[in-house]
């Protein structure tokens, strides 16, 4: 059987086993849902401005949590060793784990988007670009969670490490404040955040507008970050998976 089919087997197993875990539901769906509802209740006219950011944040939290928690949990339980003992390339394991985490991130985010569409009348202007943004973000963020899972031993350490990066990313990536309104000294830093580019892609998808001159810019940057994250995950797994 080809390695990709084994990767799909890993994903399927993870989806069935872990999708209902309370920390994933709390961080993945409840947190952004409650946040967006609060913003809407405060000022129904401005919720659309922050919607791309909140949707991207949902994707970030759901995808990173799924990959980081699942692998750390399996390392702790000894079941991750099963994958290392099986005739699998490390990239097969990375692909399998990434797919399940990305699928979880996508599913969670789509629930949120669907709820926004039904309850608050959210409409997509460029659905294709919105979908590409979601896909790229889900895979990219899942890979980030995977990398984090390799450098910690406990689930709570994984969450702490992820939050150490996720919250600053929220601050600099135009999630709550549009990129254009960020202080000048912060803008270069925002360029270095993968979340910035996903937010911009979603902004294009939702409103047809963006703070960037062309959608190709965040699309290219997101792809570059994706390649970088895949390479980093490969190297991290090679160095740390067997420890």
């Amino acid at each position: 059987m080809k390695q990709w089919r084994r990767a799909l087997a890993i994903s399927r197993k993870d989806i069935v086993s872990y999708y209902g875990k309370p920390p994933l539901i709390t961080w993945g769906l409840m947190f952004p849902g409650v946040l967006l509802l609060s913003i809407y209740l405060k000022d129904p006219g401005t919720y659309l401005q922050v919607s791309p950011g909140i949707v991207a944040m949902t994707l970030l939290f759901a995808s990173t949590s799924m990959s980081a928690i699942v692998i750390t949990f399996e390392k702790r339980a000894g079941t991750f060793q099963r994958l290392l003992l099986a005739p699998l390339h490390l990239d097969t394991i990375i692909l399998g784990k990434t797919l399940s985490a990305a699928a979880y991130g996508l599913a969670t985010t789509l629930i949120l988007v669907l709820a926004l569409a039904i309850l608050l009348g959210l409409r997509l202007t460029v659905p294709g670009l919105f979908a590409i943004g979601l896909l790229l973000g889900a895979v990219l963020f899942a890979l980030m969670g995977l990398i984090a899972s390799m450098v910690v031993k406990e689930v709570f350490e994984a969450m702490t490490l992820m939050n150490f990066f996720r919250f600053p990313l929220l601050f600099i990536s135009g999630v709550f404040m549009p990129w254009a309104k960020l202080p000048a000294w912060l803008k270069p830093l925002a360029w270095l955040s993968p979340l910035t580019h996903i937010v911009e892609l979603l902004e294009y998808g939702l409103t047809g507008r963006s703070h960037f001159p062309s959608p190709w810019l965040p699309l290219g940057a997101s792809l570059a970050f994706l390649v970088l994250a895949a390479g980093a995950a490969h190297v991290t797994f090679q160095r740390r998976a067997y420890l």
């Binding site: 087997a9 197993k13 086993s17 000894g78 079941t79 060793q81 099963r82 003992l85 099986a86 005739p87």
Partner: protein, 321 residues
């Protein structure tokens, strides 16, 4: 039975910081045999298994499994191995059947082959009625059985068993040993077994390698290992009443201090001094008015040989008072 070498290890070394876990270890495992890798805790047994299974890189030495080096072709080698770690580590949330099915997927079995194999293994390991039970809900003995079944799901050529019966009660351990023999004899699976249970090694293994502090000390069949303790004899004597402890200060006494076990006294002596020891005991018994009601003399068993070999490595630390 045994024929070609299926595992060939030469000059294997591994250190963790300043600790030398394996120091120039060499051995071969022949196809179809049960190979016992014996040593006390911390001897380097698990480190060896981890290197052979591709979980740890080696520092130096050569490892060939079926003619392939796991460092160079990990996927091809792992396809031929089944591994039972010292801790049962299947997925607690999955049922017994799903665990076997999932591992079958990881080893590339088709759906039909997986189903057939899982059903067969559940039957062999007497777990058919537990097929819908989550692994996490099984008893320790049943977990161990399913872990071994899982290692066999892809019909491997070589099965690594790391301390398979540790922590099991006597009936479970006995049943598991019978299963290991069955797997070896009926399916022709080569078994690499680590244990510090010498009774288990003597009962199961065709060939034994003793390792201590990362160094290979002795190798051979259980009989050959026993013979390394040159001329040593064991003597078990049962009297019809209590006897003074100082009786055992006999001229030919060797090994550990004798102790009563189930009403019998056990001691070790050099073979050529057996006659002298017996004469001494008879004179003492006659004078004290006690009778010898049973007497058994034999060679050293594997445990005694193992301890004697370890003792040879600790000069100046005599066990004999």
């Amino acid at each position: 039975m045994a024929s070609a070498n299926i595992i060939h290890v030469t000059g294997l070394s591994k250190s963790f910081g300043s600790l030398k876990a394996l120091d120039n270890v060499s051995f071969v495992v022949r196809q179809g045999e049960i190979f016992g890798y014996l040593g006390p805790n911390g001897a380097g047994k698990t480190t060896t298994i981890k290197i052979l299974c591709g979980l740890l890189p080696r520092q130096s030495g050569e490892v060939s499994i079926g003619g392939l080096d796991i460092a160079e072709e990990p996927v091809r080698v792992k396809q031929r191995l089944g591994v039972v770690p010292d801790e049962s580590n299947l997925y607690p949330e999955l049922t017994c059947l799903r665990n076997l099915d999932y591992l079958g997927e990881l080893y590339g079995l088709s759906r039909a082959a997986r189903r057939a194999r899982a059903t067969e293994l559940l039957g062999i390991f007497d777990l058919t009625d537990k097929k819908a039970t989550p692994f996490g809900a099984l008893s320790r003995g049943l977990k161990r059985r399913l872990t071994i079944a899982a290692a066999l799901v892809h019909a491997p050529e070589i099965l690594f068993l790391d301390e398979p019966t540790t922590g099991l009660d006597v009936p479970s351990a006995k049943a598991l040993r019978a299963l290991i023999q069955r797997i070896n004899q009926q399916d022709g699976v080569t078994v690499f077994l680590t244990t510090h249970n010498l009774f288990e090694a003597e009962a199961l293994c065709h060939y034994v390698q003793i390792i201590h502090k990362g160094q290979a000390l002795a190798a051979g069949t259980a009989q050959e290992i026993r013979q390394r303790v040159t001329g040593r004899k064991t003597l078990e004597v049962t009297f019809d009443g209590p006897v003074p402890g100082d009786w055992w200060q006999v001229p030919g006494y060797r090994g550990r201090p004798p102790a009563p076990v189930n009403g019998r006294w056990h001691l070790e002596t050099a073979g050529q001094e057996l006659h002298q020891v017996l004469a001494f005991l008879l004179v003492r018994a006659e004078a004290a008015g006690v009778k010898i009601i049973d007497l058994e003399a034999g060679g050293a068993n594997l445990e005694e040989a193992f301890l004697a070999i370890l003792q040879e490595q600790r000069p100046g630390k005599e066990e004999n008072p």
